[in-house]
């Protein structure tokens, strides 16, 4: 995973491709998913369902499978449950739950491989000299970009994080040197392509700069399993899974969805049904080489579909109504898979696996199917070597994707009811290695993003006396300033609801914020 280039480091295919450049022996991604467990069923995600039933929900009585499927299928949900689930009951449960407005939703992005937080949120304050000394090759500059002619490198600059003297955003966040020129049109040459820094300025990002557990664990396997379980041991159930078992639905598998080939261990339950959705098909009436700006074919088709049909002509009526539905669905879904033929990407999602999956997440969350939790596993962070060339593009994509996602959620009217959690199984060593990379460490960056989030540097910053504080168990590691279980518990207490101690029994000190704000993760 280490040396993958931007855009290819996603999923098991990328893992296979990159296998020969791995510097870390145990970087397999797949074990973040529950393997060896077969889904009990596959539920078709119908066009109508994903469009939020533009023509109304089919009535439960008499809705047989064929009627339900009659509008087409945009994807399949693999259902994981204790026993076989009737697809129709599942859909009915999903629709019933979806009817409950504004239930709080959580999206979890797992940065697979151990993300280096120190090159993302850079200690440019009192510890900058310490940081620079330990990262002579891959460290960031304080302020503007610095050209190091002797070593033929440009050190990417930083911008102070408002309200915090110790940390700066790596060139927001994390543009390449040339992309940072505002005269070039802004980030990534795309003026509308905002990032985490702008969400921060809006007060919608809470940062925990060094979240992990103590004693930290530098095995990908064990560390991620602990994070997934919300416990300092491996467990059959994930922390979200236990929450679902206790407070979730016993009939709606779409309540928690992993956008992957299998379910994440985070949502592994004992009894509550959950689902994995590998892909969704985007749809539209585009034609190759015909720009939407010249001819908007969806709009033209809508006119043809709106022509009135003579009484009793059921088959022509069917044709026109299906065309009309297709247009409605297309407009509702937007381009699901990258920039599509007619250029639908109003929110500026970057191309690639993360942007695509966040788009899908937005569609699913907005479809009113009772989805409470979505997990995304996004790999490529195990940067043992060539870190700048691999991590920087990843972070840029992450930053822009999250901003696009937020814009999409707002447009769908669910921005205020959705929160995104970003974490990695561990941080990395403070000092760079000989391969211009960093090895497994501790205390990675953890973020909560979203309109409802009470923004700020919520977690302690492990800096004192002009230096980064180190882990007493391994002085090469960053000190773990925040126990991740505390944040989970606060997510449960403030956002998802339920008794945090029932889900995560490990006792934790009372939650308190480093930025002096009330001890919450939500604004209200």
């Amino acid at each position: 995973m280490t040396d993958e280039t931007y855009g290819s480091n996603y999923g098991s295919d990328a893992d296979t491709e990159a296998a020969n450049v791995l510097k870390c022996a145990d970087c397999a991604r797949s074990d973040s998913l529950v393997e060896g467990l077969d889904p009990v069923d596959h539920i078709p995600l119908t066009t109508e369902a994903l469009a939020g039933f533009p023509d109304g929900v089919p009535t439960s009585t008499g809705a047989n499978r064929r009627q339900f499927l009659a509008t087409g299928v945009l994807g399949m949900a693999s259902v994981y449950a204790a026993s076989k689930i009737d697809w129709q009951q599942a859909m009915e449960a999903a629709v019933a739950e979806g009817a409950v407005a504004d239930t709080n939703k959580l999206v979890i992005i797992y940065l697979n491989g151990g993300n280096d937080g120190l090159n993302m949120f850079v200690p440019t304050g009192t510890a900058f000299a310490d940081y620079t000394a330990k990262r002579a090759g891959i460290g960031r500059a304080n302020g503007v970009n610095v050209v190091d002619a002797a070593n033929a490198i440009t050190k990417l600059g930083t911008v102070p994080i408002p309200g915090n003297p110790e940390l700066s955003f790596a060139m927001p966040i994390v543009g390449g040197p040339s992309a940072m020129n505002v005269a070039n049109g802004g980030r990534n040459g795309h003026a509308a392509n905002l990032g985490i820094d702008t969400l921060w300025t809006a007060g919608n990002v809470a940062l925990f700069p060094a979240a992990d557990f103590t004693p930290s664990n530098q095995s990908h396997f064990e560390a991620r399993d602990f994070w997934f379980a919300g416990l300092l041991k491996q467990s059959v159930t994930g922390w979200v899974g236990r929450w679902l078992d206790r407070y979730g639905s016993d009939a709606n598998p779409l309540q928690a969805i992993s956008l992957d080939s299998s379910i994440s261990k985070q949502i592994r339950t004992v009894k509550a049904p959950v689902a994995a959705v590998g892909s969704l098909t985007g749809i539209n009436f585009g034609l190759q080489n015909v720009p939407t700006t010249d001819i908007n074919l969806n709009a033209e088709m809508a006119k043809l579909a709106a022509v009135a049909t003579g009484a009793g002509n059921d088959q022509l009526g069917r044709s026109r109504s299906i065309y009309d539905l297709t247009v409605k669905v297309s407009n509702s879904l937007g381009g699901l898979n990258g920039q599509d033929a007619i250029g639908q990407n109003p929110h500026g999602y970057p191309q690639g696996a993360l942007g695509d999956r966040l788009r899908r997440a937005a569609v699913l969350l907005g479809a009113g199917l009772g989805t409470r939790v979505v997990t995304i596993d996004w790999g490529g962070f195990d940067t043992h070597g060539g870190q700048l060339a691999s991590q920087d593009p990843q972070l840029r994509t992450l930053s822009a994707s999250i901003a696009a996602f937020q814009s999409d959620l707002n447009a769908r009217g669910i921005g205020d009811s959705t929160m995104t959690l970003v974490f990695s199984e561990f941080g990395r060593k403070i000092a760079e290695n000989d391969g211009a990379g960093t090895d497994h460490g501790s205390g990675g960056a953890m973020m909560l993003v979203g309109n409802p989030v009470l923004g700020g540097v919520a977690g302690d910053v492990p800096i004192a006396n002009g230096a980064m504080l180190t882990d007493p168990n391994d002085r090469a590691n960053l000190m773990v300033a925040t126990d991740f279980r505390q944040v989970y518990k606060q997510i449960l207490a403030d956002w998802l609801g339920g008794d945090p101690n029932a889900i995560i029994p490990d006792a934790q000190p009372a939650f308190a914020r480093a930025d002096g704000l009330p001890a919450r993760i939500t604004k209200v």
């Binding site: 066009t47 047989n64 064929r66 499927l69 009659a70 509008t71 087409g72 299928v73 945009l74 098909t281 749809i283 009436f285 034609l287 190759q288 080489n289 015909v290 010249d294 001819i295 074919l297 033209e300 088709m301 006119k303 043809l304 579909a305 022509v307 009135a308 049909t309 003579g310 009484a311 009793g312 002509n313 059921d314 088959q315 022509l316 069917r318 044709s319 026109r320 299906i322 065309y323 539905l325 297709t326 669905v329």
Partner: protein, 500 residues
Amino acid sequence: MPRISTRKGGVSATKKGKRVILKKRPKKISLKSARRQHRLKATPAVIQEIPMTQAMVDRLFWRAGFGPTAEARSAFTGKKSAEAVDWLLDSPQGALQGPAPTNGVNALDIFGERGNDDLVTEWIDRMVRSPNPLPERMRLFWHGHWANSREDVSPAQLMKKQNDVLGKYSDLAANPNADFATMSYEMATDPAMLRYLTGETNVRGRPNENYAREIMELFVLGVVDGNGKPNYTEQDVKELAKAFSGWRVRNDSTDNGANAMLAEGYFTPSRWDAGVKTLSWGKSGAFKDREATEAVLAHPNQPFYVTRKLWDYFVPTAPTADVHAQLVKTYVSSGFKIKPVVRQILLSAELFASIDEPTMIKPPAVYVAGALRATKAAIIDTDPVNSMMRMGQRPYYPPTVAGWEGGISWLNTNTVLERYGFIGRVVGKMPDLTDQPTETPQAAFDRAFGATASPWVSAASKANLLDLANRAPARTAAQRKNRQVVLRTLLLAGPDAQVM
């Protein structure tokens, strides 16, 4: 008036693990429902005496073919429908017109490495390039009726051989006396059928009921009569299964060798259950396959089933009891001949109902072949085959032994987009998209309309398309080409283009 059963009525199609329960109750023919079904348009019953408008010619050549050609329009507009119908029924299929398709590089090789795609392409090509389209249209009907799938039949030669057999009952000029009884005898021991419904394993003492069930349920008799009363019992299935025992497939070559075309069903007396079989409608005897088929054909409700199924293939509304009775009369009095029944249906007033607003969704095969005929586009590699699979109708691969459900089930958001995408690819490769810099919007529309063989489009849709032609940017050559491509695509792949 005997009540009739429909294919859709309470049918449960069994074939190995595939069991499709169709819950729709059988349609019952009553005066009330007949009136409702015919509220579309009161069309004169003596339709065949009226000179045809071009719309009527178009209707006939869509329902009985794959869309009108310019020749058909000019030959039959203003003529009585009987002239056109008799041309369709009495003309030879004719040698295929125009260039033969390739699989991208080479000529088709239907039993070769890419055999399955080429096999299907070869048939689609016949639909596209036959001068008289009715034989292939009929063959498509019979394929959906005696629905066997290449999925479960190997070698491929058996499917092609069956397709040839179906042709004998489809080319009604060459086989004017083709009858359903003979067809039923032949299909009972057709090697693809023996393989698909596992008749090969039907041995005395170890009966396999597959074919015995389907010949009554789907092929010849129907599950229930028009009152919903069962036409046969489970005991009848068991009795018939014994009669059909003893058959196997000779030349069981699975190496795709040329000899596989010689494969045939053959009878082994020692495997046959020679006992007396007794059926609930009073037939009894030491039946073998032939006598068993005769017995099913002698069931009093049999004539209602296949005549109704043929009607449904050409006309989307149910026949009145009287019309159906007339069909049955023609069928029975002719000795179960196919041609007079098809003739009567094609001459019926109902075929031309709602002539200004077509009422029947084109099956994918008709849609694809029709578009290729209309645009004179060559078949490009396997595009039609793959596309038709996603449209829900891949010839030689019916989804179950009950064939394709058809009707409104053809269209959903996936299949509509597939139809649209296919047309987009066909139009994009049309050779006559040359730029005409001074072309007016009206001329652009007219050119698109002509290039797509003047398809039916409602007045309101036509106004929309003309409006689009006016609005579409046309400053650059690329924009003018796009205007032309879009107009053609919408004419052939909009909602109006889906019906015939």
